[in-house]
């Protein structure tokens, strides 16, 4: 672990923490444009975070220490996830500490604790949200794992850094299996980030919410940590998608010129990805909760199909 690598790793982490709310703001901006509304401004998520940090925390009488520590835990998990996904460069120190399976485990850990925090106060909405979140989780997680397995089989490695090197830096090959995997991944990320058609991030309509129902009891700095963590999650999924399906422009092995060049490419790719997300959300309607298993079951099947296609056609 050399100093340059550690610096690059730290830059990547810092960038993720700073850029994540901007991405959320950008998606909201695009949605507002598409819905013919006037947008709240690109920097609105930062203002919300600043406001929430200033506010007083109101805790329910029976909130346990688990409830108070969960926001920091979830934030830490997602920040680590953001550091693991190769956003600017491959071959960074943390790449060896956790591979794609560990990344999925890390995201599952964050979900585990947010669901427990939702159940902690013992309100009707909290438990309802926790149950729904875990249902989406157990359907989406295997699909995500299968997508990553397909990429791992292609690149003969489950390390995300090696996957990006194999897909982006060797000679260009079109993999039909990655097309299936791409569709599956898109569906999974919609569900995991509480987006339409599975959940609606803008709603407090009681019967349809999932993510919002879990975090209803949070306020002040705790809510700010959770909101920031949600932005980070969207950022992590976006960067994971970009790394798997559009790995071009990511620097190799932490060389500085490459990293400096990779930054504008990343911003451009994220902008395009965010706009695409807004378009997908605009074109679909929120589903009933029990249609979600069908939606995610399809994603799971597509991901397994991707693996089969790889074994049959490409191996």
């Amino acid at each position: 672990m050399n100093l340059a690598g550690a610096t690059a790793q730290f830059t990547e982490l810092l960038l993720a923490l700073l850029l994540a709310p901007l991405l959320t703001g950008w998606v909201n901006q695009c949605r507002a444009w598409l819905q013919n509304r006037s947008a709240p401004g690109l920097l609105q998520p930062y203002r919300v975070l600043a406001k929430l940090f200033e506010k007083e925390v109101v805790l329910a009488h029976n909130a346990s220490p688990l409830f108070r520590s969960a926001p920091y835990l979830i934030f830490g998990c997602l920040a680590l996830a953001a550091a693991i996904v190769p956003t600017l460069s491959t071959g960074l120190p943390l790449n060896a500490a956790a591979d794609a399976i560990a990344l999925v485990g890390l995201l599952a850990l964050a979900r585990f604790f947010i669901a427990l925090a939702g159940m902690d106060v013992g309100t009707s909405f909290g438990t309802l949200g926790a149950r729904r979140e875990m249902m989406v989780g157990f359907l989406a997680e295997p699909a995500l794992l299968m997508v990553l397995f397909t990429a791992s089989l292609i690149s003969q490695s489950s390390s995300l850094s090696t996957i990006v090197d194999a897909l982006g830096h060797r000679e260009f090959v079109i993999y039909p299996s990655m097309a299936f995997a791409g569709v599956a991944f898109t569906m999974v990320s919609l569900a995991e980030n509480a987006r339409i058609p599975v959940d609606n991030p803008a709603t407090h309509l009681e019967l349809t919410m999932i993510h919002e129902a879990m975090v209803l009891e949070y306020s002040g700095r705790h809510l700010a940590m959770i909101e920031w963590a949600s932005s980070l999650k969207l950022f992590v999924y976006s960067c994971m998608g970009l790394a798997l399906f559009f790995p071009f422009g990511i620097a190799q092995g932490g060389d500085w010129l490459g990293i400096v060049l990779a930054l504008p490419v990343l911003v451009l790719k994220l902008a395009a990805g965010g706009a695409a997300l807004a378009v997908i959300e605009m074109m679909s309607a929120k589903m009933r909760i029990f249609r979600a298993p069908e939606f995610l079951g399809t994603a799971f099947l597509l991901a397994v199909l991707a693996m089969l296609v790889h074994v049959l056609l490409e191996a």
């Binding site: 805790l59 346990s64 688990l66 013992g122 009707s124 309802l128 997680e141 298993p293 693996m307 049959l312």
Partner: protein, 666 residues
């Protein structure tokens, strides 16, 4: 000082357990004597046994012939790396469980404390003897002692009819399994009459007989391990037994069955055929998915854990199947990887499952309530139990950086390398199998949120819970021991894999620890393909969490105010509006509807006293067990014709039998 080999030390430990058990009879009515002295002594023996086993892992096998047993077949005992590994598991878990049991078992429950103490230590000793037995006769004696002593422990609270019924079902299936194992040994000795394992090892079985032996072993040991469709006793027997006993049964006894399967297949037969692996893989994955789906809909916390044991055993058998598959194709390194993952998962499951069973025991004592629907909010009343249980749930859900994740990671890595297999159809099956493992792992997260969230979080669902007290010091010590093991096993995978190396070398000829990048990383095969470092992972995660917390503390005020909960402004909420265990199981019931046999009725909207009832039953009862039971019932009905209840007729039967025998003997 007398020179002592490791097998002698192991046998001595088993003997010490038997002696401790017999001491229990000295004061059979005194719970204090057993609790304060005998169980802690048993725990000390457990620690000693674990130390002996750890030493023996890296030693060449040692043997001993005991002057007991049949005239021409004395008891043979042998301690090799595989036995040593399972003895280590037994000793480590028994230490934690025994300390807990010292504070847990009381006089007011069913059998007298002295008797329970005897059965408990006999159970421990018989498990140790199963693991060192080196001939079929000794093995079966120890195996049956294990079954019987655990049967008496399961039925120790024998005043309840359902506990007696659970015990009956358990002993029935245990004996079906035992018959199968006996037949398996019959097939293995192949007419030579040599029932020592050494004889079976050197014998080259014809392929047909080897297959027969494998299938019998899978069925026989599978009945003990609880794989499909011989799993039905698990969810009945585990809730019936006292919690330390459930913990031992689930954590160690199921593993002795895995040990037996490995001993017979990898050692005694010695040359697995690849398609045996496919069978084991299919059965294992079916058990895993079945177990976790059923765990999700349970409302009794110990039944939930019992079904989760079926899931974990399923994963272990699937990993073992993968080992056989690779071994059958002669791919040694990959077989070593799969075997490492399997054994690692055995160790992990032993620790986190016993931890969770003990936690349910503490909850049961504090609240006298086993039904999830009447618990809740116990994190406030029982913080020790709650935080230890949280470690157990994170571990069992397979989340990093605890131990459950490492073994699942290794197993998934083994799946990722299968496309190199020479058999095309198997290659196609493997992605589907990997998908099933992924689904199982994700579902176990769901089940564990349900378990922990409903028992320990939220508002108490019953007023009586306000009087719940935390576990006593002995119970705490046991829980902390097992939690610490879960954390340590998760953080030092490199050491554990080194420990497993002698076993994989013995049975596959390869080890996977040589390829590592150093003590910090786990990198099976080669570092470029996959690596994971739990210590680094934990260090960075902790640093980030602390940094976030300190930054928020430094830059913002720390004001917090307590108020009633918000719940979208709804003021009249009460504890009954939280999700029940049934409610939490509902999504799984809907998504996996075909797996269940659902019966129930919903009340009509105008019903003034609405009663909602729904049961989700195991289809195997109706497909397999009830038809067989009916058939047996009918056959015994035919036999009762002979039973007349008059002594003259019975004497006539004896006379007729004697005549027939004389005819044959002449």
């Amino acid at each position: 000082m007398i020179e002592m080999s490791s097998i002698d030390a192991g046998l001595l430990a088993a003997g010490a357990w038997i002696a401790i058990g017999c001491c229990g009879l000295a004061a059979p009515r005194s719970a204090g004597f057993a609790g304060r002295f005998l169980y802690p002594a048993g725990a000390a023996v457990g620690v000693a046994l674990a130390a002996i086993a750890l030493f023996a892992l890296f030693e060449p096998p040692s043997t001993r012939v005991l002057p007991l047993g049949l005239p021409d077949l004395p008891f043979h005992a042998r301690l090799d790396a595989l036995s040593a590994f399972f003895l280590l598991l037994l000793g480590g878990v028994a230490a934690g469980v025994s300390v807990f049991a010292g504070g847990y078992l009381r006089a007011d429950q069913g059998s007298s404390p002295g008797l329970v103490c005897l059965c408990y230590h006999l159970f421990l000793a018989s498990m140790a003897l199963v693991l060192v037995a080196d001939d079929a006769y000794f093995f079966m004696v120890a195996w049956e002692t294990m079954a019987l002593s655990s049967f008496f422990l399961v039925t120790s609270d024998h005043r309840h009819a359902e506990i007696r019924r659970a015990g009956y079902l358990y002993i029935l299936i245990a004996h079906i399994g035992a018959i199968s194992i006996l037949l398996c040994f019959g097939a293995l000795q192949a007419g030579t009459g040599n029932y020592t394992f050494d004889g079976m090892r050197t014998l080259q079985l014809p392929a047909g007989w080897a297959t027969v032996a494998f299938v019998l072993a899978l069925a026989g040991f599978g009945a003990k391990a609880g794989i499909l469709p011989l799993h039905v006793w698990l969810p009945e027997a585990h809730p019936a037994a006292p919690s330390p006993v459930s913990a031992l049964m689930s954590a160690v006894m199921l593993k002795t069955a895995i040990y037996g399967l490995m001993r017979v297949t990898l050692d005694l037969i010695g040359f697995p055929v690849w398609w045996w692996g496919v069978i084991a893989l299919a059965v294992g994955l079916a058990s895993a998915l079945f177990g976790i789906i059923f765990a999700a809909v349970q409302t009794d916390m110990k039944r939930l854990l019992a079904y989760s044991s079926i899931e974990n055993i399923g994963l272990i058998v699937a990993g073992f199947g993968l080992t056989l598959l690779f071994r059958g194709f002669g791919m040694g390194t990959l077989a070593a990887l799969a075997l490492t993952a399997t054994l690692y998962h055995c160790l992990n499951h032993a620790f986190f499952k016993s931890l969770l069973f003990l936690a349910t025991g503490s909850v049961l004592h504090a609240t006298s309530e086993r039904s999830l629907g009447r618990l809740g909010g116990l994190i406030h009343r029982m913080p020790w139990v709650a935080w230890c249980a949280l470690i157990g749930t994170v571990a069992i859900a397979g989340l990093p950086p605890l131990n459950g994740f490492v073994s699942e990671w290794l197993l998934l890595q083994a799946f990722l390398f299968t496309p190199d297999l020479p058999q095309g159809y198997v290659n196609l099956l493997v992605p589907v199998a990997a998908a099933a493992v992924a689904l199982t792992a994700a579902l176990s997260g769901y089940v564990m949120v349900k378990f922990f969230g409903i028992v320990f979080l939220g508002q108490p669902r019953d007023e009586a819970l306000a009087q719940a007290h935390d576990a006593g010091p002995w119970e705490r010590a046991g829980l902390v021991w097992l939690s610490a093991a879960c954390i340590v096993l998760g953080l030092i995978p490199h050491a554990v894999i080194n420990m497993l190396e002698p076993i994989t070398r013995q049975f596959t000829g390869y080890g996977i620890s040589g390829e590592m990048r150093g003590w910090l990383f786990v990198a099976p095969i080669e570092p470029e393909r996959a690596s994971y470092s739990p210590l680094l992972f934990l260090a960075v995660a902790t640093a980030l969490i602390l940094a976030a917390w300190l930054a928020v503390r430094a830059f913002y005020h720390g004001r917090a105010r307590r108020a009633p909960s918000w719940d979208c402004g709804f003021p009249w909420q009460n504890a009954r509006m939280q999700d029940t265990a049934d409610g939490f199981g509902q999504p799984v019931k809907v998504v996996f509807q075909p797996a269940f046999r659902i019966e129930g009725e919903a009340p009509s909207p105008r019903d003034s006293r609405p009663q909602y009832r729904e049961t989700a039953d195991d289809r195997f009862w109706f497909w397999l067990y009830l038809p067989v039971a009916r058939l047996v019932d009918r056959l015994t009905g035919l036999v009762t014709v002979l039973q007349r209840g008059r002594i003259s007729i019975y004497l006539m039967y004896s006379f007729a039998t004697l005549l027939v025998l004389l005819f044959f003997v002449r």
